[in-house]
Symmetry: C2
Subunit: 344 residues, 2 copies
DNA sequence: GTCAAGTGGGAAAAGGTTTTCTCACTAATA
DNA sequence: TATTAGTGAGAAAACCTTTTCCCACTTGAC
């Protein structure tokens, strides 16, 4: 018995459906139909074929299948986020959503190089990807390559998309609101916002939401995305003679880190004297600050998951309404604000 | 002219070699041979075909080609490094090396889940990947899945491989030597080593090299991979009554960051009083410390590049000698040690 | 005993490409 | 003139599946 199977496998190369058919003593069409639960045949035949296929370790060749079905069960993920801080969670979400559907993901990091982008896109199209997801490190910038006239569906995630397409992004206004409301709920009255360059769309969006919730007159300090700007901002805030803040909403976790360090250096206690909230929930920063940082998570993994399901829907011809979908952020409570809400 | 081309394209779906043949008034075999520079034909015919193919935007279908050639021009990258700190540079190197050869990369993040790993490996095999590169976050741990009996070549990068295979890793001993020699060259005499858990192979390897260069009697403090351990270690070192160190070689950049912060809090100047070297060159940490961190770079991108070229060689049947290849590290000089060497 | 309907299964085409073989024709040689 | 050698190009097979169509056979009804 075993020997017969070995002989069947003994043929050169991979096991094909021919081997299954031969081992079961039937034709390849019947074998195919048995394995795919299509066509008509005796239940007993069907199950025998399945059993034999499993025994000899048959796995269908996706290339041949794709050639016929015009579906490769493959999608491309294009990113210009070299460092991968945003891309990786998105990628994880996509992969997570699609692995059940047998879809694999090509990852192409194209930096800011249009030529490289072109090469990767062409390679993906040659490989008949069912769709492409474009992602980046900035909501208000496009990838350095035009994806609008491809004959495969394109979905944008965390990067600016073309008109008439689907774009997923985080709801930064809602995230900012979450942060400021949390500070307010903890009784903080003199809240300030220390954030990145005003040229970033999401900076403006977060700042606007902050003003809406905290009050128009509350100060916003624009700067750069670095710890040192956090230090500097604290120096600025504490240099004047006026009232000092008791809550600081930071534009990202790195700034928050700088702020917290600067406060500690001044002997100001976090969270007793001042509460600090970050943005991004970049674990590696947020969890290592002292105290660990309460921060806003953009749910990038969920964003990736939805982008994955959407590109799949488009690939299968299901209708999807174009537009920008804003996904809600989530507040991750650690210890930089005080408050007694249990850790999430 | 344009209209004729449009009509040619007007057929349903993608442009195939049939369209090229039709447009050129020749058979598909001749078209194929013309485009691939094989077979015999008039030079003029060959060039005309190429020109027409370019004009109508023909691109060969990689699925069909792969079906026949048994090469999919696709490889799989398997990683359990969720955060991507090590995987991303490796990925960038692989992609960089292979894009010229028309090879695309499937990225599969499998966490520590063997079942998920199995699913991804099977999906990759179904898609006829030409090879697999396994990478991880730890040199001395295997991925949670056995890749030894696949009928595609497997190369290991920054993770422990199976016997008889090719494994690429960084030369941690050489990297540690680089760091300690640099401290010595700057005149530091009382060097200590603050590092991660002794259970890590690379920790032991770096520590051994450190002892060899700095002297057997120099102290090694094992701990964990975190900033807070860096703080703690400084507290330990400065709590005793003995001579204080003037050079600290840290097991990674996060520890170094903690060490530098702790030193500053004690009013000890870096680099004037104490020089600090890190390990990993994790830009986001190393560049944000104050002062910026001199650290050892493991050249992961180069490692990825070599892994990519190796798996390609194996896929093409070129012989590759099995074994462990250690790639040299590089010292990245910033400002945490002093010294007048220009920034690299 | 004929017809219709239903059932189990196979033959063949299709998908796009590459490769091997074969053929027709020309030019050069014997 | 008859043979050879060389040249340009096409037909067909192969890669592995899926799917459509068809065939042979059985059963039940008339």
């Amino acid at each position: 018995m075993e020997e017969r199977l070995d002989t069947a496998e003994g043929k050169r190369g991979r096991i094909t459906i021919h081997d299954v058919a031969a081992a079961a003593g039937i034709s390849i069409s019947t074998a195919s139909k048995a394995l795919n639960d299509t066509g008509r045949m005796g239940l007993e035949t069907r199950e025998r074929v399945k059993r034999i296929a499993a025994e000899i370790g048959y796995r269908p060749n996706a290339l041949a299948r794709g050639l016929l079905s015009k579906r490769s069960f493959t999608i491309g993920l294009l990113t210009n986020d070299t460092y991968g801080r945003f891309t990786l969670p998105v990628m994880a979400g996509i992969s997570d959503a699609l692995v059940d559907h047998g879809v694999s993901v090509f990852l192409c990091a194209i930096e800011e190089d249009p030529a490289l982008g072109q090469i990767h896109v062409e390679a993906m199209l040659d490989k008949q990807v069912d769709g492409i997801i474009a992602t980046g490190k900035r909501l208000d910038r496009r990838l350095p390559i035009d994806l609008s006239n491809l004959n495969v569906p394109v979905v944008y995630a965390f990067t600016e998309g073309a008109p008439g397409t689907v774009t997923f992004r985080s709801d930064d206004a809602q995230g900012a609101q979450l942060a400021v409301e949390w500070l307010a709920k903890l009784g903080r009255k003199r809240i300030v916002h220390v954030t990145g360059p005003e040229s970033f769309f999401s900076v403006r969006e977060r700042a606007d939401a902050y003003c809406r919730v905290a009050g128009e007159e509350r100060p916003v300090l624009f700067g750069v995305w670095s710890e040192s700007w956090g230090h500097e901002a604290v120096a600025k805030l504490w240099s004047g003679s006026g009232e000092k803040p008791d809550g600081i909403f930071c534009g990202n976790d790195q700034i928050a880190r700088g702020v917290i360090d600067a406060l500690r250096e001044r002997g100001i206690r976090v969270p007793q004297d001042v509460s600090v909230v970050g943005f991004d929930n970049w674990e590696i920063v947020a969890a290592q600050t002292r105290p660990p940082l309460t921060t806003v998570d953009m749910e990038l993994k969920e964003l990736g998951r939805q982008a994955g399901l959407t590109v799949l829907a488009l690939a299968e011809g299901r209708p999807v309404e174009p537009g920008i979908r804003k996904l809600p952020c989530r507040l991750v409570v650690r210890q930089s604000c005080g408050g007694d809400t249990p850790r999430i």
